[in-house]
């Protein structure tokens, strides 16, 4: 089973990271899921692949009543992001799935009906969670051609999908980045290969530099906090992406 860790709490407003599953087989990439709670409602960010549904569901249930989940936010269409959709819907058939309009007719191959999906425009949109405004932020081509991040202005947390992801060795499994220089070595190859466009990357760096961010939470690896957030943005800005050796 995965473990849950509260990374932000202010009254009924809470962020929980669902991370690190010791029972996960090696052939599945490790993923982080995040739960935002506000006034008794929950939004699940990148709920993960169907194979890890048992681990995510049971970890989430230990922290939150899963029938109070009102929606799922999918940063993009990858199987490690959203292939568990049908299982979550089986549990909560009325749940909404927020995703880039680009993937609106692709993700239903994982489950759901026409009523399930809320198509987010390219420029992003505000998603309300029991009165808490959550901002979908454009991150197209990073890496998916229809890609959105989610910003919680009140908590000052940016959920950044695959941006900031690191494939960490077994002995470096801390939830937070402790030593930026050591950590970023495990992120470099991933970003070079997966991120598709230097132009898109430049725009994203400019956009998020202007945002007030205490924590940047990627879907793989560790959470950047404090000065490491800007350190990451600067590092990413310098990196040449969208190339392969082949």
């Amino acid at each position: 089973m995965k473990t849950t860790q509260t990374i932000f709490e202010d009254g009924s407003h809470k962020w929980t990271a669902i991370v690190r599953d010791p029972a996960r087989p090696d052939y599945l990439i490790d993923t982080n899921e995040y739960l935002i709670q506000h006034a008794g409602q929950g939004l699940l960010l990148d709920p993960g692949g169907s194979e890890i549904f048992p681990a995510v569901f049971s970890a989430l249930s230990s922290e939150f009543d899963p029938s109070k989940l009102v929606g799922i936010f999918a940063s993009h269409q990858d199987p490690d992001i959203i292939s568990s959709l049908a299982l979550w819907l089986e549990f909560n058939p009325g749940m909404k799935c927020y995703v880039s309009w680009l993937w609106g007719s692709f993700i239903p191959h994982f489950g759901g009906t026409a009523e399930t999906f809320v198509a987010l425009p390219d420029e992003g949109e505000t998603i309300p969670l029991a009165g808490l405004p959550l901002q979908a932020v454009p991150a197209h081509y990073l890496h998916s051609s229809g890609n959105l991040h989610l910003y919680d202005r009140q908590a000052k947390i940016l959920f950044s999908g695959d941006v900031g992801a690191a494939l960490l060795p077994a002995d470096k499994q801390n939830l937070f980045v402790e030593d930026f220089a050591a950590h970023i070595r495990h992120a470099e190859a991933f970003h070079r290969r997966w991120m598709g466009s230097n132009e898109a990357k430049r725009r994203w760096c400019e956009r998020v530099s202007q945002m007030d961010i205490d924590m940047m939470c990627p879907q793989h690896g560790a959470i950047y906090r404090g000065a490491d957030v800007q350190r990451f943005i600067n590092w990413f800005d310098e990196l040449n992406v969208g190339i392969t050796r082949a």
Partner: protein
Amino acid sequence: MQMMAGLTAGDGRERGHASSGAALDLLRIVRINEEIKRVVSVAFKINIMALNAIFLAKRAGNAALGFGVLSNELRVFSKDLRESMMTLTRLIHESVAEVSVILQESRQDELFRRTAALRPDDRQLAVVLDRRDRRHAEREERIAVLRRELRMAVDDAARLVELGGVLAKSAKIEAAYGAGFATSLGQVSGEFDGIVEEIRASLDKLRHSSFFGGSA
């Protein structure tokens, strides 16, 4: 809450077995389908042969009166046979659809079973599992009904083919009285008999399919 009491991981494990049964069933149905497709194409040939036999009997005139009557019967038989094959085809398509849904759901069933093993006392999860169990049972029931209907349709077709066999053999005898046409009438009725035998062998294979509890 008696219904929920049964929703333990053990139940799910049984369901896991049932799903591998679904994979086997699908394989068997696909084999049955292939056999039915063969019979349908052969049955179509019979229709053309019966038409030829009627024309031949007309040309032979008074020398082949008996053969003419029989070839008309054979034509009716081939029409009945095609209708019977249409019923088989419809039933087999419905069976494939049901079994493939069970196969598709079985992976999710397995994931829910694993979830329930991690949270054995989760009542909301028990409700979901219960709903899935009922849906699964309904689907199994529909497959059982289809299986019976299919078995009956195969038996009906087999009876029909028995009749076809009798007609073909009578036509062979009548052909002998065909005077100058005896050779060609004999050839037609011989081919007829051969094809009826071919269909009989196929239907026999179908009746012994393990989908109906047989060994094939």
